[in-house]
Symmetry: none
Subunit: 233 residues, 4 copies
Amino acid sequence: METDNAAEQQHEGEQWIEELLAISQEEKMTPKQIAILEAAIEIFSDKGYSAAATSEIAQKAGVAEGTIFRYYKTKKDLLLSIVGPTMSRMIAPFVMRNFDGVLDGPPESYEAFLRAFMVNRLEFARKNFKILKILIQEIPFQPALREQFAENVLGQVLERVTAITEHFKEKGEIIDMPTPAIIRFTVSSVIGYLLARLLFLPDSDWNDEEEIEQTLAFMLYGISGPAVRPETK
Amino acid sequence: METDNAAEQQHEGEQWIEELLAISQEEKMTPKQIAILEAAIEIFSDKGYSAAATSEIAQKAGVAEGTIFRYYKTKKDLLLSIVGPTMSRMIAPFVMRNFDGVLDGPPESYEAFLRAFMVNRLEFARKNFKILKILIQEIPFQPALREQFAENVLGQVLERVTAITEHFKEKGEIIDMPTPAIIRFTVSSVIGYLLARLLFLPDSDWNDEEEIEQTLAFMLYGISGPAVRPETK
Amino acid sequence: METDNAAEQQHEGEQWIEELLAISQEEKMTPKQIAILEAAIEIFSDKGYSAAATSEIAQKAGVAEGTIFRYYKTKKDLLLSIVGPTMSRMIAPFVMRNFDGVLDGPPESYEAFLRAFMVNRLEFARKNFKILKILIQEIPFQPALREQFAENVLGQVLERVTAITEHFKEKGEIIDMPTPAIIRFTVSSVIGYLLARLLFLPDSDWNDEEEIEQTLAFMLYGISGPAVRPETK
Amino acid sequence: METDNAAEQQHEGEQWIEELLAISQEEKMTPKQIAILEAAIEIFSDKGYSAAATSEIAQKAGVAEGTIFRYYKTKKDLLLSIVGPTMSRMIAPFVMRNFDGVLDGPPESYEAFLRAFMVNRLEFARKNFKILKILIQEIPFQPALREQFAENVLGQVLERVTAITEHFKEKGEIIDMPTPAIIRFTVSSVIGYLLARLLFLPDSDWNDEEEIEQTLAFMLYGISGPAVRPETK
DNA sequence: AATGAATGAGGCTTCATTCAT
DNA sequence: TATGAATGAAGCCTCATTCAT
């Protein structure tokens, strides 16, 4: 964590590099390849995939134009090499048993589960912000991405999340409403927070802990005041 | 409503044309100009602004490529001519007094207000879905759009919505939480519904009335079940 | 003459219009056609023939784009309609007997002839400056113009000027040097003055009468000073 | 000189290439870049800058159209890269001390100076004829060129030439007439010769040495014959 | 006679990709 | 392995010219 913060302060927004370095050791990436990815993320994120020029990426990476195409057959390959693995890591917690890494054991309560989930994914989103931006921008236009997304997220993740949701519904912690709706509500709320936090107002003073608690309270109890709460009549 | 649905079935996703035709009568658009806009919306929405070729737009519109540039000085002009006016109409209800057109009078309750708002904006989003998609995709890359968005939405709309929210907070219909957070929660939930309804699963069988009621219930009372509701302990 | 000066002061550099109006009465030009010529001269002169757009000419002339092509089949036609007649008028004095209009009778002396010639052609060049600029710019690129120029100037004019020059050579007023060289010297000197006067330094204070006398003195006696004059040794 | 003539006969009008090759060795031009310049000079000179198509230049140079833009960002850049350096070399003799390269020492007489100057600049103009043609054609329309011309020629050269002229005026070799007029006379005469020699009648049989002497005689003593020479009366 | 909407060929320029070094 | 010169297809845009009104 401390080294993490240090890295963040050194060059804000490039925290993804630690993840990438981990991969690079496994997959034997050369420094040039890393530089290319780093530059590509920056420029894809800034200008969009279509408007980004490979020549500009090469320049920013400090390599020759041709070098990019030694590592990635096409520009689209480069894009997929960036967002593909991130997509896998994005949904990693869901495909592990018992949400390893998110929860150390089986979640005691739905609230605890949601809280752990938010903390964990906020951290992830912060570290991979630029890549996620590229992913969101390009999913509508890249069938390859859409497919991978559909298979993984709408396939595996939804299945897993549905199971969890229904588990807590049976335990009475969640009201009796169609599971898809419940998932939609929670996902909307969490993503709403992430977008506000990282995209729309990244420079505000955010008290993450407090905001997460408020968002949790909203998801669980809504925003109705005493005047309309049935139980307080 | 019925004619609306008929139109939808005729050519799905081109409902915007009725809005546009209304404008065309006011602003005297020629059939060719309408065809250009129609084609541009389709192609921008499908491939993204940067990846869309003016030659393809011309072909789809059934005009010569040069004709596009008689009406719009540049490709970017064409983009702005599409999303600019839509942006204005997007926020139109917020800048009217008492939400004319959304509510006939001042809203009796926060719930009634939210319900009217959702119905109204869902209708709007449905009619302008492709343009809204273009708008969302391009806002990050087009300073001109960002500016207009910041001025209008973050300027006028937030001010208006804040006032309404605080009005109902004072009346006790909304719990005592920071207004920005409350706005974030409601906006997230509404947009979450719109996206699921129109973008992610447009082909599902949606019972809009019921979904809206459920979303309202979520926003007001949350998803906690009897096991955790404080008052039922 | 007085009206002439008045016109000059009204809008400097458009004196050609009087010549044009004279023609228009003969050739029945409509006001629109005159406006087109006027605009074309301005724009051809400013940006060059190739870089001038017919649309800009139409706009400046206050006519529709198509109207130009009712009077002139092509853009090149328009050019030729401007410079062709001016070319004829440029050499007009040479093809008249006894230089009518330049000299009232046969020239008494070579000096008198040169003086009258300079005064007369300076006046002409001043009135037709923009057209002459177009002519000089385009002669290298327009075979039609080159042909007309070769036929008229190198044909008729040179013949006439040669005759005059040799007439005065026989009378001993001009030294015994090849006639082509003599013509070259005088033409260079006269044109050199015209260019300096009208093109390079049009805003200087010019005393035309004095400058013409000095140029005459140069042509006749050169610039050698007493130290090298043979006769003054 | 002989090799020079040989080159001229091989491909007429491309003598500039020797100058360019000298530069290319210093500035490391590739053969393709030289071919592009060569083709551009030819075509700009033939059709004028505006009417020249980069596609035609590429074809004549034997390269792909895109290659031009690797070396020159824009078509205008290509133009400036051709005429800019030539402009510098055009005035080079004037900015050197004592006219190095034109005169070996300080000029003994005004006549000797003028003779050396004519020989030297005729040689230069012959070698750079096409580029000079482009320069003259485009100066009125290219502010960048006009500026450079004004700064260099009207700035440095005039100053230098004025000094020389006044030097010889003091020595009595030049008559007492305003210096600007004297400069105009000489420049007109020299340029008149160059144009006749290279532009108007390049195919005549020219005896350069004799023509230069005659032109010198004209500049110094004029064309008046014995009948009107004051001193011979 | 005059218009101006429409055309489409052609202009300049960009850029992903290749390949000889 | 890495380079970067070279490519040429494709992109955006201009403009002379036509033609129905």
